[in-house]
């Protein structure tokens, strides 16, 4: 598997599954057009970041620091830290929700998961565990099967994809921004570029890597599509408001029947743990890279205090948010994806300025099509963000 497909998988986390399920359950197929646009945006932006990694051999935070200096780097890194911090909280919410389905209280599951993840990173190689968790995530193959055997009304699916409709109610805007935010997370852009650099992919090899990057983005889109279709066909007609993991699990009912909860629980657990493992680490790498602080999991706290401190902080804060009394898990996950959506335009502007800059990219700078699609995506996310903030603050 190449970096593109792995990144596509990583998008399939607690935030993704929950958001797509909620969108399908509450709005049927009506927001599929937005998923289509987001996937197109994701495809173009992931390609930009992968190309930047191949051409410059540097990570995204590296380039931001070298091109825009200290102050703008601080802005970008704070945005990344907040977005990823909220994602980590969402992953722990996913852990809590999935294990509650299987009968484990969150007061047990969340601290245990946090400790295990921290210990894995500090004392062992998390790579081995990464593979095992990938296998659990395969449980989500159940979605395309569910989506097909439930015989949805394919005409309305196509209509949902082709005709843009959007209510201006707060709840609808929250769902829409969460959909964009979970499909194109700021996190994925840093991750894909770092993976390309890590693998040492250069200009020559990039021609092949590009296919993998496109496949990864399409995978993310298809995954969202089938979850929304399954939820839209099963939950929407029954007017289910997704308030818990067991509500969400019903979307797999047509395939798994009584075992739906188990199937959903296993998939969600694998996806949440996987992301909770990778997300704090890659955030720490990106931030330390930007400021020239020592990083690497083979270091100890004395050698790399900021690096070790940062991911420990992220894991701790994520777990604590979920453990605070009376936090509803599903709304917490949806809000976290809104945070991603709100911060996405900031990260996109940096990406577009860098990928379009000939002094950075030489003859590999963005062409007109990439630049227009990228700007369009940034405008779409900004418009939804501004719309949501306006509706929330002014109660329009």
């Amino acid at each position: 598997m190449g970096p593109g497909i792995i990144t596509g998988f990583a998008g399939n986390d607690a935030g993704g599954v929950t958001t797509y399920t909620a969108v399908g359950a509450h709005y049927g197929f009506a927001l599929l057009w937005l998923l289509l646009l987001s996937t197109a945006g994701l495809l173009v932006i992931q390609e930009m970041c992968a190309r930047m990694g191949a051409v410059t051999g540097k990570g995204l935070s590296d380039l931001i620091r070298e091109r825009f200096g200290v102050r703008w780097t601080i802005v970008a890194m704070i945005a990344l830290l907040i977005a990823n911090g909220s994602n980590v909280a969402a992953e722990f919410a996913g852990v809590a929700a999935s294990l509650e389905l299987l009968g484990v209280e969150r007061i047990v599951s969340v601290p245990a998961a946090a400790l295990v993840i921290w210990a894995l990173i500090v004392f062992f190689s998390y790579r081995v565990v990464e593979r095992a968790l990938f296998v659990l995530v395969l449980a989500f193959v159940a979605y395309p099967i569910s989506a097909v055997i439930v015989h949805p009304d394919w005409d309305s699916v196509v209509r949902g994809l082709a005709i843009p409709t959007l209510s201006t109610q707060q709840a609808a805007l929250i769902a829409a921004l969460a959909l964009v935010g979970t499909t194109i997370t700021p996190y994925m852009q840093f991750y894909i570029q770092a993976s390309i650099v890590d693998k040492g992919i250069d200009r020559e090899q990039y021609r092949f890597a590009r296919v993998d990057v496109y496949l990864g983005a399409i995978l993310t889109g298809l995954n969202g599509f089938f979850i929304i279709v399954a939820a839209g066909a099963v939950l929407f007609p029954a007017h289910v408001i997704v308030g818990s993991a067991s509500d969400a699990a019903q979307a797999l009912g047509p395939l798994a029947g009584e075992q739906a909860k188990l199937l959903f629980g296993v998939g969600l657990l694998g996806a949440s743990l996987l992301a909770a493992l990778v997300m704090p680490l890659s955030t720490s790498y990106a931030i330390c890279e930007a400021f020239g602080w020592e990083s690497g999991i083979s270091r100890n706290f004395r050698e790399a205090p900021v690096f070790m401190g940062l991911f420990t902080f992220l894991i701790a804060i994520g777990a604590l948010v979920v453990l605070s009394p009376n936090v509803p898990l599903i709304p917490l996950i949806l809000v976290s994806q809104n945070v991603n959506g709100l911060l996405l335009p900031i990260v996109l502007i940096f990406i577009l300025l860098l990928a379009g800059d000939r002094t950075v990219m030489g003859d590999q700078a963005n062409g007109r099509v990439s630049q227009v699609v990228g700007i369009g995506t940034a405008l779409m996310a900004s418009a939804l963000s501004i719309g949501l903030v306006a509706v929330t603050v002014f109660g329009l």
Binding site: T56, K58, D62, R65, E66, G69, V70, R71, I74, E289, F291, G292, E294, R299, R302, E303, R358, T359, V360, M361, G362
Partner: protein, 423 residues
């Protein structure tokens, strides 16, 4: 001493005070140890202008052109010129193997022989804070907490801009810096320590593998105590033991004290007998007592010996210069009887017994004395060293002024003065 971030964006005015633009960048040709600032890049309403640095005068708060902008000859940057802000600032300094080390947070400039020169790369937290205008505030906060912000400046002559490997790659992305190990060995050990403290763990170990033993030992003594232990833990045991042997016994003992017990024993076992026994003896005293900081290297003259015999003894042993400030006289049991100076010994008739020329009123301290008390005694009586004795009055070692200099001087002073002397 200005930093690039402090002069960047300064207003540039004509002789009559008319503002013509801002200073955006300074260009140098990277040759020689400390390249001189040769060109200034100005942002003017008419676009970017390059002028010779010599056509500008630095004044408080702004730069003044020596003649009007139209009358100043425009300059051309040669292809090998480096623009400090564009090409160096915010870039990574990598080691010779291409692994990343640190980032250039600021560039230090200094007036040398009437020319502004690039003298160092600031890779520390201070540089980062200065760039966002928060150095002063952070310094005050750290001061309240009783700490100092760490400095991290790599002298420029240790840094080499690397040329781009791929010619088609854009130039700005290709400038990288390196610290070659051979150059490192030419430095004063205290400066090697400063540079090493800024490196990654792997790089540090590589440096201490390659330096010759004596330089490695001297440099290791200058490294921060916590980092010393980390370096010694990461080195192969044989090499670590060899370096420890070369260190002053008191410094080696302090370092070993910070290691886990089994590792400490391993290393002491690997050391030569003589050095090992000195160190082991020192290890029995608490770290912050006179016994913990003293050195067991000293010159002890038997009391019945004559002045001539004593001079022969010195000629044979060739003690380090700092050990000859005071010569101690001991009896057959090793009990401290008195002290004399090298001068006393040389001017005395050759056949005189040393007991006749020594001063028996010698100030001495028991090994358990707290080190703060030792420091204040040394400061009060203007001594260069103090003898340390055991309960029976036998001479164990000496505490020299450099063992307690940190306790006498204001915090951080030693470090800074060493940097400025070495430069």
């Amino acid at each position: 001493m200005p930093y690039l971030s402090e002069i960047q964006n300064r207003r540039v005015i004509e002789p009559n005070g008319n503002v013509v633009g801002r200073l955006t960048d300074v260009a140098v040709v990277p040759q020689g140890q400390f390249p001189a600032a040769q060109w200034a890049i100005l942002a003017t309403p008419g676009g970017e202008k390059v002028v010779r640095w010599a056509d500008l005068a630095q004044e408080i708060g702004h730069l003044r052109l020596r003649s009007r902008l139209e009358a100043t000859p425009p300059a051309q940057l040669p292809p090998d010129a480096l623009r400090l802000a564009r090409d160096l600032l915010d870039k990574q300094i990598v080691d010779t193997h291409g692994a990343k080390v640190v980032r250039v947070n600021d560039l230090q400039l200094s007036e040398v022989d009437g020319q502004l020169r690039l003298v160092g790369a600031d890779v520390g937290l201070r540089g980062l804070l200065r760039r966002v205008g928060a150095e002063g505030v952070a310094e005050r906060i750290a001061g309240v907490a009783g700490r100092r912000l760490p400095r991290g400046i790599i002298p420029w002559h240790l840094v080499e801009p690397l040329q781009a490997k791929e010619p088609e790659a854009p130039k700005t992305a290709a400038v990288r810096l390196t610290i070659p190990h051979q150059k490192l060995a030419l430095l004063h050990p205290a400066d090697i320590a400063d540079v090493v403290e800024e490196m990654t763990a792997d790089e540090r170990v590589a440096v201490f593998q390659q330096l010759d033993l004596e330089t490695a030992a001297d440099a290791l003594q200058e490294v921060e105590p916590e980092m010393q232990a980390a370096i010694v833990s990461d080195l192969p045991e044989e090499r670590a033991a060899d370096i420890l042997e070369e260190m002053d016994p008191d410094e080696a003992a302090d370092l070993l004290q910070d290691l886990p017990e089994d590792r400490r024993e391993e290393l002491v076992d690997l050391m030569e007998k003589e050095e090992a026994s000195d160190v082991e003896e020192l290890l029995t005293y608490p770290e912050d007592s006179a016994g913990g900081i003293m050195t067991t290297d000293f010159v002890a003259l038997p009391g019945e010996q004559t002045a001539a015999q004593s001079i022969d003894q010195l000629r044979e042993k060739k003690p380090d210069p700092e050990l000859t400030y005071y010569l101690y006289v001991v009896d057959a049991q090793g009990k401290l009887e008195g002290v004399l100076s090298l001068r006393d010994l040389v001017v005395a008739p050759p056949e005189t017994k040393v007991t006749a020329i020594m001063d028996p009123r010698v100030l001495k301290i028991p090994a358990e004395t707290p080190k703060e008390e030792v420091a204040s005694l040394i400061a009060k009586y203007d001594l260069l060293a103090l003898p340390v004795i055991d309960a029976r009055g036998r001479l164990l070692g000496t505490v020299t002024v450099d063992d307690v200099v940190e306790l006498i001087l204001p915090r951080g002073w030693k470090k800074r003065s060493l940097r400025s002397i070495a430069r």
